[in-house]
Amino acid sequence: MPQTIPEADLERRRAASRRLGWLLGAVVMAIYLIGLFIKR
């Protein structure tokens, strides 16, 4: 049966998404900086 989406549930999911988004962004920056300073 279809059910409505509780707003609190939606907000909880979006907050989790923001946290994971920042984490992935930090990974990107870390790889970029490693790449930038790589030397033979």
Binding site: P2, A8, L10, R13, A16, S17, G21, V27, Y32, R40
Partner: protein, 531 residues
């Protein structure tokens, strides 16, 4: 606790602006998906016009239409536009439109990031093409002329077009990373109750692996081109042998991104293929789990095979052997995918509407890309074929027949869902046959040219190559102009046409077909439950 129980048109945040402001400020996944697809289509024609000029120059030996420097600029910007501004945005457009519909989510998890990710694209496209215009007014010496690979030391010595391209690639990269982050968090956090990861539609799985590949490899490209920028303007010597640097290091860094990029362009298409094949064979997808594990295996293998792009640069023999066998290993999960696609059709009640024609065409032509790729993966054979037209033909079978024809498959499959109208089947089928025939007319001769020793990236060539080049140019012009049918068919379908039901295709399965065609402004007001 309040709940989202209002009808879509009564929601407070539904009072979105109209006109241009709507498109500038929208956070709706369908609007943003439409913008990505429209942008991709425009840039597809921009990149296509560039290469038609190139093919016109190559119609016969000698220099007829342009200086060699301008020829070099056209081939480089053609590739950058087609890869970063046409194929990748098209795939992201699919993701925006379809992932929320397929997983039962009301929208992407981070809608404002989504808007920002798109609106970075137009300035980047302007940066890529602006040096052509500036050169007309005597400013600078035109666009980047190194080919899309930016190889040092040529790129260290190049004109200001290189700086424009470096900046454009940074911006395009940031846009793709934003899109990838949004797709990963949406798939992880926004799925409807009951949709476990192993019930996720294969299109979403394909995009999930793509997004992780982008996050792992785009920062390396960004690092490499930043180092290139500092070599050009700030006195560093990362890639300058005279200063103790190493030009081959640039090739390693570039292809650490560049090879996964091939799979970044193809995995979304491999993900949508099973949906189309299953629909028009009226059978469930064969080997769901095998396809998921193959996507993961290809994703992992794609980041450990990069040096096969420069076997001839003088790598040590153990490295050559390692990169040869690891490259060939990719053919195993890819063969699993081919087997599953064919097994899905096996003994099905098949019909050949336009999306199915493109899907079958994709399997045959992309198969040629795979087989010729195996030839190039062989170190001994590659010494002969490297930097020849054989390579050009191979990667166009991969990226046009594999990538762009895959995108066309998806557009024809989902366009009625997006617009609520059916496109013209007659025009669609004509577009398919013209595309397939002219594509082969363009690129089969290039295999022979490569085998005969014609190098790529040259505006003039020996007389012995004249006939095949003439045939290739005729094919390219038919291919280019037949894409106008595609654009016209889409435009006509957006403007009107026979109305379609929610389940557009008789054999279609999946959540996206439960919603009306076109879907409501807010997708999944009431969340579906997956059994």
């Amino acid at each position: 606790m309040s709940t989202l129980t209002h009808p879509a048109d009564q929601l407070p945040h539904d009072h979105h602006p109209s006109g241009l402001l709507r498109w500038l400020t929208t956070t709706n996944h369908k609007d943003i998906g439409t913008m990505y697809m429209t942008f991709a289509l425009i840039m597809f024609f921009v990149g296509g016009l560039m290469i038609l000029a190139v093919r016109a120059e190559l119609f016969q030996p000698g220099l007829q239409l342009m200086r060699p420097e301008f020829f070099n600029q056209l081939i480089g910007v053609h590739a950058l536009v087609m890869i970063f501004a046409a194929l990748m945005p098209a795939a992201t457009g699919f993701a925006n439109w379809m992932i929320p519909l397929m997983i039962g989510a009301p929208d992407m998890a981070l809608p404002r990031l989504n808007n920002w990710g798109f609106w970075l694209l137009p300035p980047a496209a302007i940066l890529l093409t602006l040096p052509f215009t500036l050169a007309l007014f005597g400013i600078g010496d035109g666009a980047i002329a190194t080919g899309w690979t930016f190889y040092a030391p040529l790129s260290v010595q190049g004109g200001m077009g290189v700086d424009f391209a470096i900046l454009a690639v940074h911006i395009l990269g940031i846009s793709s990373i934003m899109g990838s982050i949004n797709i990963i968090v949406t798939i992880f956090n926004m799925r409807a109750p009951g949709m476990t990861m192993m019930k996720l539609p294969l299109f979403c799985w394909g995009w999930l692996i793509t997004a992780f590949l982008l996050i792992a490899t785009l920062p390396v490209l960004a690092g490499a081109v930043t180092m290139l920028l500092t070599d050009r303007h700030f006195g560093t010597h990362f890639f300058d042998a005279a200063g103790g640097g190493d030009p081959i290091l640039f090739q390693h860094l570039f292809w650490f991104f560049g090879h996964p990029e091939v799979y970044i362009l193809l995995l979304p298409v491999w993900g949508l293929m099973p949906h189309v094949l299953s629909t028009f064979s009226r059978k469930p997808t064969y080997g769901y789990k095998a396809q998921v594990y193959s996507f993961i295996a290809i994703g992992l293998l794609s980041v450990i095979v990069w040096a096969h792009h420069f076997f001839t640069a003088g790598l040590p023999v153990p490295a050559l052997i390692y990169f040869m066998f690891s490259t060939m290993a990719i053919s195993l999960p890819l063969a699993v995918l081919f087997f599953c696609w064919i097994a899905t059709m096996w003994k099905g009640a098949m019909t050949f509407e336009t999306p199915m024609l493109f899907a079958v065409g994709f399997i045959v032509l992309f198969g040629i890309a795979g087989l010729t790729g195996l030839v190039l993966a062989d170190v001994a054979a590659d010494a002969q074929y490297h930097h020849s037209y054989f390579v050009v033909a191979h990667f166009h079978y991969a990226l046009f027949a594999g990538g762009i024809m895959g995108v066309m498959t998806g557009v024809y499959y989902w366009l009625p869902k997006w617009t609520g109208h059916m496109y013209s089947e007659k025009l669609g089928k004509l577009h398919f046959w013209l595309t397939v025939l002219s594509f082969n007319l363009t690129f089969i001769p290039q295999f022979f040219l490569g085998l005969a020793g014609m190098p790529r990236r040259i505006p003039d060539y020996a007389l012995q190559f004249a006939e095949f080049n003439a045939i290739s140019t005729v094919g390219a012009f038919i291919l280019g102009f037949s894409q106008l049918l595609f654009a016209w068919n889409i435009w006509s379908c957006v403007r009107g046409g026979p109305k379609v039901d929610s389940r557009v295709w008789e054999g279609a399965e999946g959540l996206e077909w439960e919603l009306s065609s076109p879907p409501p402004h807010h997708s999944w007001e009431t969340q579906p439950v997956i059994k």
